[in-house]
Subunit: 679 residues, 2 copies
């Protein structure tokens, strides 16, 4: 009679093994992804499997009731102490007695898939840098003297196949009593290293440690620092939190921070200390929220723009403030928490994603990791919209990247009634095509402003201003309804047939909302506001257009809007504005905080780190500042939607009025005011 | 006509190269050891060579006057600014024009031999872990953006062949202005790494840096900490200095320090802080003495016994105080200075030699490195005599090691008139065979005590006691002159025919010097003193004898006495005492501070580190505490020289009286009082 056949699902891997082979052994020999921390000693219960019985015509086997050995004492004890789910067995205890089909449930897989909310999102396969291993260490022997640590190394080699595991001094300092307390059995958390650092012990516990270790994915923005605390064994996000970047007191935007460092001898250092302090506060808060010991945080991944990157590392960003915008270092960075004075495990691994170029930082690299343009079959344009837009264009063949100085208009700054996204801010706008009167929604209220219940609903917040996504819809609606012409001029009330337009100095403005009667603001859109939006969207579009030139295409298959702001932009309005190239509207999607997601992927999957390093090296960097065509595209893109580029798909959906309000007095200077701005 | 032939001396390497080839290029292609920091740019002048002209029958060439190119502008300028020694040329500028013989002077060799005082000492070939490299870095280019550091890496790869050089944050933080100040030419000090750490930049200077970097070789003893500051480019010792180990306030010997850590919760930590503080004081002092910046100290090697090793690293030595004497870690240790709070370059490489066993530390490993028993053709016994003796026995075939608890008698402690080696201490003794009266020399005076000028010469120091080497000669002389018998009993004045012997309670004592008239001490040797020396020497001999058993021999070819104390021991007296095995007297030599020398070798030659790690792994460790024969040897070795081992070579030189003073009352108990003692 032949050896029992075992078939594992979902992998489909199969093989024959001698009767009595433990299921875990069979799984390992077949390369089936079945977890075990205790190495098959019946302690950790990570190797739980579910045998199936009966007929399996698909697999060509019949599984008898006695296909696996009967429950043994170890399983019995485990069941009594902790309980096993019905139908489950311990893979290290159950042995093969006959042909059997065995399912490995997701939680028993090492490389489990991390659940994500977004359906279209790339899957995250767990492959964390730090894992737990239970090990039995030989006792010291005077006949063959060796250090306790060397015997621990030997045990890890013999029981887990690690060639050489290192340990920092803090482990060597506390290891001896722990080995003895655990009666020479310990659990260690090992950082599995990379090409530059070998396997390294991060923690050691006596006996079997029934806990986990944690990691942080941190998105260090100019305005906010956001962190996700993840369980490295499950990939789950246990807590997320954010704080304002304390550097804001040195300057709202990046250039003013660079200036601060230029004007003050210790400026860069002050900002370095501020951001690290802010981060440490955030880490304490998030650890408290999740109820965990900060010392168990053994990994941290950071993404940020180049100026934040340098200031976080303690590098003066001086060179980033002037051409040729030389980064001190562009490659990925591996450090220890103590190098950055971070209050997590002192030798926690810190990983900063590589920067793409002087204006395209590790945050853009993280977007690339999350959205994977390099794996895309169709040509995708990815835009991370902020005060500086990072733009990626590519497919499987190649990926190009640039940044474009959009300025802060998209965040509501430099707009007369603009404001940050906050309750009370107008975020959605519709202008009635007949009356030319606007209706709108504000953040914190689901009703349109025309609704009878609207005033009551907004009683606490009021209507306070227009946020970034609101101003985009506003200008697009004004263009669609003939209030603004292609050149960006607001017509007179007569020209536009709108009672909301009023003369405002040498130009016209458009009244959106008058709250003055109730002590609120009078919210208008001035022609200067239109100019600001024109410049911002022209910068964005011309960056994208330049990449399309370099790629040798004049259309893209799809557009991904990344960033928190991107999540709120209406694709149609963005396209009417000419912010993004012409493209089927359903092909314009939002990726949310793709940079933060990229950080989380790099935290949970070490291979993704190597992957993004490779991708970044392969990305073609385009510097808009030295591309003559950028200026040309910019001028053309100042028109709404564009002076030369046709928008055939957009035009099939929306028809834009062709009147022009040009009186010859105030036209065409928008494109000439180009400034280099960053944030 | 064939290409010019070049012959390099002293290597004898030769080859033909096209006319016009620079000498440096030819040397590199032939693998001739010719230094260059600037990479052949005529800046550093490290590649100086001396061409020889005329007939060279030995080499079969005639060198014409125009065999090398004429002086060029670079050499001219160098000569004017700095001057070249007569006959010297710059190897990177002079080109081959005809057959030539070229001498590479020692100072132009990278792997120069370091000059040593001891003729028989192993040669130290310089191969330091950190070297200087001059490099020209590409300027940033917006068309192909990359970090300044990545371009520096590229330059180091292209110009020096380094695959990937890393840098700590402190280098990244200061690099950008230095690159610009040096107009994209810099000198970097690179730590060349080892299997675990890649090449790493330690320092960066604008332009060509005409200086050097330094290293420390530190011998961390229980009593003193001694450090040598070395120039890593020349291997020279620039300054040496020592301080008392501040841990002495926690206990004189090692066991009392281990006890202190057991009795006090923070005891180990206090001692760790104390030793690091003491070390930092020493480093400041030695750097001031040499007039160098401590930040230029980029390497440090430490040797010490296991307890010092653990306390220095911040590991509680608790386990070393009890069987099975388990070290926390026995392998070599690589750290950074900041890990140990050392006030040299914060990321200076720190290297601790491996420990051989729980009682045989990194100091013994350093002795093995310096004395190289594993390379010896004949069988050598190496004894590092201290309060604990470390013993090595071996030859090219194998090396054995053990430690033996000699106790502090050899340092003058536990001897009634004993004292540390200091001015006024008796260090040499002769007893007149007829009168049985002693004469002696004290430290600080070259005259014998019988000399008429003696009393004047010692007027300031006086005669204060007997130091370790003095007591050995004293007891040996007493044995040779029939005052002490083989069992270690002092006879009566009558039995010994010595007026210096007097009854002293139940036993007899021997008067060495009576200084009471001048208010000085009365120096005597009591029978109890003899017992102490018997136990100490028996411990030493039985350790050596045990290793001989394990090796399967009953004699050794030579004996090396290491340690400062070993340098002062008279071989003949040591052998009369039976401290060391029988052996031709001229084959007993002193190695001085071999542990310190081993530290210096490991500092100056990285390959020596790998070598000693290999040697230590291969050494057979013998634990005397669990060897039954050790006790037997100890009892036999209590006799002077030995109860059973014949000393044929000694007997051919010295004839020892055979009387015995045994009255049956006080015999043979010496061997029974064995205690485990360490220091």
């Amino acid at each position: 009679m032949s050896d029992p056949l075992v078939i594992f699902t979902p992998s489909g891997k199969r093989g024959r093994f001698p009767k009595g082979t433990p299921v875990l052994t069979a799984a390992r020999q077949l390369g089936v992804d079945l977890d075990s921390v205790c190495g098959g000693r019946g302690i950790c219960s990570k190797c739980q499997i579910t045998p199936s019985y009966g007929e399996f015509p698909k697999h060509g086997v019949t599984v008898q009731d006695d296909a696996l050995s009967a429950w043994n004492a170890v399983e019995q004890r485990y069941e009594e102490k902790r309980g096993l789910k019905p139908g489950r067995r311990l893979g290290c205890q159950a042995t093969l007695q006959g042909d059997v089909v065995i399912d490995v449930p997701p939680e028993s897989q090492v490389h489990k898939q991390v659940v994500r909310k977004r359906a279209e999102a790339r899957e995250i396969v767990l492959n964390p840098p730090t894992k737990l291993y239970y090990v039995e260490v030989a006792e010291p022997d005077m006949h063959d003297p060796s250090g306790d640590f060397e015997r621990l190394q030997d045990a890890l080699r013999d029981q887990w196949g690690f060639e050489r595991v290192s340990a920092d001094l803090n482990i060597l300092q506390k290891m001896q009593p722990i080995l003895r307390k655990g009666d020479w059995k310990v659990t260690v958390a090992i950082h599995l290293g990379d090409e530059e650092s070998p396997h390294r012990i991060m923690h050691i516990w006596p006996g079997y440690y029934d806990g986990t270790v944690y990691g942080l994915a941190v998105d260090l923005g100019s305005t906010t620092i956001a962190a996700h605390l993840c369980d490295l064994a499950s990939g789950e996000v246990l807590a997320s939190s954010g704080v304002m970047n304390p550097q804001i007191r040195f300057g709202e935007d990046l250039m003013s921070r660079v200036s601060y460092s230029m004007m003050n001898a210790s400026g860069a250092q002050e900002m370095t200390e501020a951001v690290r302090e802010g981060m440490n506060g955030l880490f304490s808060q998030i650890a408290a929220e999740a109820g965990i010991d900060k010392n168990l945080i053994v990994d941290a991944v950071f993404v940020c723009n180049p100026v934040m990157h340098h200031l976080f590392l303690g590098i003066d960003p001086f060179e980033l403030g002037q051409a040729p915008f030389a980064l001190a270092t562009s490659n990925e960075i591996r450090l220890r928490a103590s190098d950055l004075d971070l209050n997590i495990h002192p030798s926690a691994h810190v990983y900063l994603l590589p920067c793409i170029a002087g204006h395209v930082g590790a945050d853009a690299a993280a977007v690339a990791l999350s959205e994977a343009p390099d794996k895309s079959e169709d040509l995708v344009l990815i835009v991370d919209v902020g005060t500086n837009a990072e733009i990626l264009l590519g497919n499987k063949e190649k990926v190009l990247a640039c940044s474009s100085p959009t300025g802060p208009a998209f965040e509501g700054a430099q707009i007369s009634s603009g404001q940050r996204a906050a309750p009370g801010a107008i975020e959605r706008v519709e202008i009635d095509p007949i009356s030319k009167v606007p209706r709108f929604k504000v953040i914190g209220c689901d009703l349109w402003s025309g609704d009878p219940a609207f005033e009551d609903a907004i009683a606490t917040t009021g209507v306070t201003g227009i946020c970034g996504s609101g101003i985009i819809e506003m200008v697009a609606e004004m263009r669609m309804n003939g209030i603004v012409d292609a050149a960006g001029l607001i017509g007179t009330a007569g020209q536009t047939h709108s009672a909301n337009v009023f003369a405002d100095g040498r130009t016209n403005s458009y009244l959106v909302y008058d709250g003055t009667e109730k002590g609120g603001p009078r919210i208008t859109v001035t022609n200067r506001d239109i100019r600001e939006i024109q410049m911002a969207k022209a910068a964005l579009y011309s960056g994208a257009r330049l990449l399309m030139d370099k790629f040798g295409v004049d259309k893209v298959d799809r557009v991904v809007l990344a960033g928190a702001f991107g999540a709120h932009i209406s694709p149609k309005h963005a396209m009417v504005l000419g912010m993004i190239p012409d493209c089927p509207l359903e092909k314009v999607t939002s990726a949310g905080n793709a940079a933060g997601t990229g950080a989380r992927i790099a935290l949970l999957n070490t291979e993704a780190r190597a992957e993004i390093e490779e991708t970044v090296r392969a990305i073609h960097k385009v510097e808009t500042a030295i591309e003559p065509r950028f200026q040309e595209h910019f001028v053309n893109a100042s028109a709404i939607p564009n002076a030369v580029d046709p928008f055939p798909i957009l035009n099939s959906v929306v028809s834009l009025p062709e009147e022009t309000f040009n009186t010859g007095a105030d036209s065409g200077d928008g494109g000439g005011r180009r400034r280099r701005r960053r944030a």
